[in-house]
Amino acid sequence: MNTRKVTALLAGAALSALASLAPASAQTTECIAPSAPGGGWDFTCRTIARILSDLDLIDGNMQVTNMPGGVGAVTYAMVDGERPEDENLIVATSTVGVTQIAQGRYPAPLDAMRYIAMLGADVGLIAVNADSEIDDLAELTEIMANDPGSIVTAGSSGAGGWDHIRLLLVAREAGLEDLSALRWVQFDAGTDAVTQMMGNQVDVVSTDIGEIAGFVESGDIRVLAVLSDEPVPAFPDIPTAVSQGVDVTGYNWRGVYTGGDVSDEAYQAWVDRLETLYQSEEWQEAAEESGLLPIWRGGDEFTQYVQDQEEAMAEISREIGIIE
């Protein structure tokens, strides 16, 4: 009796797990987050799915699938090889994805996909410990130019990742010629890097502002600059790098692409749908809550933007010796 109960319990659990994995039927739309649950790409898909269905912009529900692997490369290969024509599929991507493509880490080039739109962006920042001797961006750029070996910089990406590259853009602007002279330490998250900076393991952190906003508010760290065109609404007092004479912006945008063989009509339909979504109060609210700056670029404008960004990334990656 009890044996049977346990068996039934286990079998039932297995079945319900199977049911949750059932593939989407042909009509439903799907958003693939090329990462594990949690994190930026997952948020992009889940928020888009929720609001599209709330606003009745799609029939029924949008299914969100997590397909982690190779910082998005697994999904890129799958869409390129198996579903290039699937007009019901969108995939979350960001500056991180374009960086990977620029460094030749994806199985297909940038133009293998059709880039639909960006809906918002995280803003980069450069920060030091609250009791650091570096008081403002000018002092930091001075050190970068003249004595780059004296400081240790850190962030949540590896060498050649976006946190590193946007700091190097600042360093190059400051006049540092040999970009590899600046020490860089990778941590798993921006909060990790900040915590290590508070313990004086590293001197400067470059990462997204959203993730570490709590430390900015508490005064544990001093933000030297945000890498946006205008100050961030949540922290209007923090000056931009541009306003301090360092002409660098470093957005980590969030957007989506679809397969390379999707028809023009279907592509345009996605651009229109997402533009409606972008203008909705729901999106503006969701973006703000998760520390994103709502920014819209769609269709051809977005495609051009992504191409330009890929070229810029490739150039600086060559300069620091990440690619040949």
């Binding site: 297995a14 797990a17 697994v74 020490r183 330490v185 915590t195 508070m198 709590g214 430390f215």
Partner: protein
């Protein structure tokens, strides 16, 4: 006093009917998810996140539900470790070492009860620690740099040699295999792929849970196929359906020590529950391991790692809440959920959202009690699982393994990889090589390497940084003492063997 009144406010939040219901549901679901091989806390929490959005729960209720699932998984992971020798999730791996031998001796009920109570003690110690010292301990994490984490991992690896198996050479071989597998994937420091043969599916490395399920569950099925499914049901006689309470009381020392070690490992964001379980087990073996009973069904070998991994999972909430630094995969997912609910974990969370923090803490106390109450009566039920003939049980294990692994990544490749690990596990078992050090090498090796590389990046290649802080010096001293003690014990055993030659053959 201030803390107590804050906690009282927390209980008021936790005891609302909705939150209490969510808590109980979460505990039950978590225990089940944790018990199923392949489905662990990360999946459990990840599967439930969309649900919390769908029902529109507020941040506090969502967090209570997910934490209950998280703690429930930590309780549940031990069940299949003990009954099937298949860890339900990564931190439960140490529980197989003595838990499964106990079950084989017909003491499954004791093992389940001891591990249940140990889980309760460990989790309660960590929640009390969270209540009293959270803001203080969060600061401790700041002083631990990459070089110190590396020293901590060196200590952990020094203890692995003594953990499993009779032949240290085979243990080292197994751990080395694990370390080699941990090198596969994109090097996080430079972003260069290593040993991937151009296959994008292993760019992120080998997911430890895939290796774990393959090595333990699939190889178990292969072994069973070989034996044609007749043996186990015949050999195991269950001695008792009810746990022996004296046995539980006798492990109180192991539980306390395991809880403290695990809690420290949990508070350090670079360590986590698996490391907590390993260190608790290794230390317990050194403290009270005389007589060579560890690994053959010693109740203390069940109590220490279970107390350790549950204490670590509670401890991991401290850096998550007060620094926003996730101490484990599960807390990383919970953190992402909090952020999307407009809660900003970090140094101001305790001041800005006290009802959320203290509501959570209070519900963790309740969850622990609920889990103990839920788990103890179920022991009889779970023990009867041992009576299920293996030919009926193993197909279910196989189905759950495949579903669980597929649900992590939706990837057929992971299933193939799991089967390959199953074959590897089968071969290693035939050679008498313990699989536990392999999984530990894989679980801990990546973090150990990353922290070494970070330290090297900071110092620009100067190895002196490894000894530049007092924390790492203390940790290396412990390591040296530990190794010296092991060598001394080995020499002593050899001398004894010389004095009593008849024992030599048995050794």
């Amino acid at each position: 006093m201030e803390t107590l009144s804050a906690l009282a406010g927390g209980f008021a939040v936790a005891l609302t009917p909705l939150n209490l219901t969510l808590l109980l549901l979460g505990c039950f679901a978590g225990t089940l998810i944790g018990a199923l091989p392949g489905l662990g806390p990360v999946n459990g929490v990840a599967i439930l996140i969309p649900l919390t959005f769908a029902f529109g729960f507020d941040a506090t209720s969502s967090l209570i539900l997910l934490s209950a699932v998280y703690f429930g998984c930590m309780y549940g992971g031990r069940i299949s470790s003990i009954l099937l020798n298949i860890p339900g999730d990564e931190p439960a791996i140490m529980t197989t070492l003595d838990g499964f031998p106990m079950a084989q001796q017909g003491r499954a009920a004791d093992a389940l009860a001891i591990s249940g109570v140990a889980s309760f003690v460990g989790a309660t110690v960590s929640v009390i620690g969270l209540t009293l010292f959270a803001p203080l301990l969060a600061r401790a994490a700041i002083y631990f740099g990459p070089a110190d984490y590396f020293a901590l991992y060196v200590l952990a690896f020094a203890t692995i040699g003594g953990i499993a198996g009779v032949d240290p050479r085979k243990t080292l071989l197994s751990a080395a295999l694990g370390l080699m597998i941990a090198c596969i994937g994109i090097d996080p420091i430079t972003g260069i792929p290593r040993f991937t043969a151009g296959n994008y599916h292993i760019y992120d490395g080998v997911d430890p849970i895939v290796a774990l399920v393959g090595l333990f569950a699939i190889s178990e099925i292969l072994v069973l196929l070989e034996k044609r499914g007749k043996e186990r049901a015949a050999t195991i006689r269950v001695q008792s359906w009810l746990p022996d309470f004296r046995a539980i009381w006798s492990t109180r020392g192991a539980m306390t020590r395991g809880s403290l070690v695990g809690f420290v490992a949990g508070v350090l964001p670079g360590a986590g529950a698996s490391l907590g379980a390993v260190m608790s087990y290794a230390m317990e073996k050194q403290v009270s391991g005389g007589g060579g009973t560890f690994g053959t069904g010693d109740p203390r070998g069940v109590a220490a790692p279970e107390a350790g991994n549950n204490a670590a999972s509670g401890g991991a909430l401290i850096p998550m809440l007060s620094l926003g630094v996730p101490g484990s995969g599960t807390t990383a997912v919970m953190l992402a959920m909090l952020v999307s609910l407009n809660v900003q974990p970090g140094p101001l969370l305790f001041a800005q959202q006290p009802e959320l923090v203290w509501g959570l803490v209070a519900s963790l106390y309740l969850a622990n009690i609920a889990l103990l109450v839920l788990n103890l009566p179920l022991i009889g039920l779970f023990t009867r699982l041992m009576m299920v003939p293996t030919w009926a049980l193993m197909p279910i294990v196989a189905a759950v393994s495949f579903v669980g692994v597929f649900s992590i990544s939706n990837s057929i490749f992971d299933l193939e990889l799991m089967i390959m690990f199953g074959a590897l596990g089968y071969v290693l078992r035939k050679l008498g090589v313990s699989l536990v050090p392999l999984v530990l090498g894989l679980l801990l090796g990546g973090d150990m390497e990353r922290n070494l590389r970070r330290a090297m990046s900071i110092s620009d290649g100067d190895w002196g940084i490894l000894l530049s802080s007092w924390i790492s010096v203390v940790l290396y001293t412990f390591t040296a003492l530990f190794l010296a003690l092991s060598v001394w014990l080995a020499i002593r055993d050899q001398r004894r063997a010389k004095l009593f030659p008849e024992n030599r053959t048995s050794k």
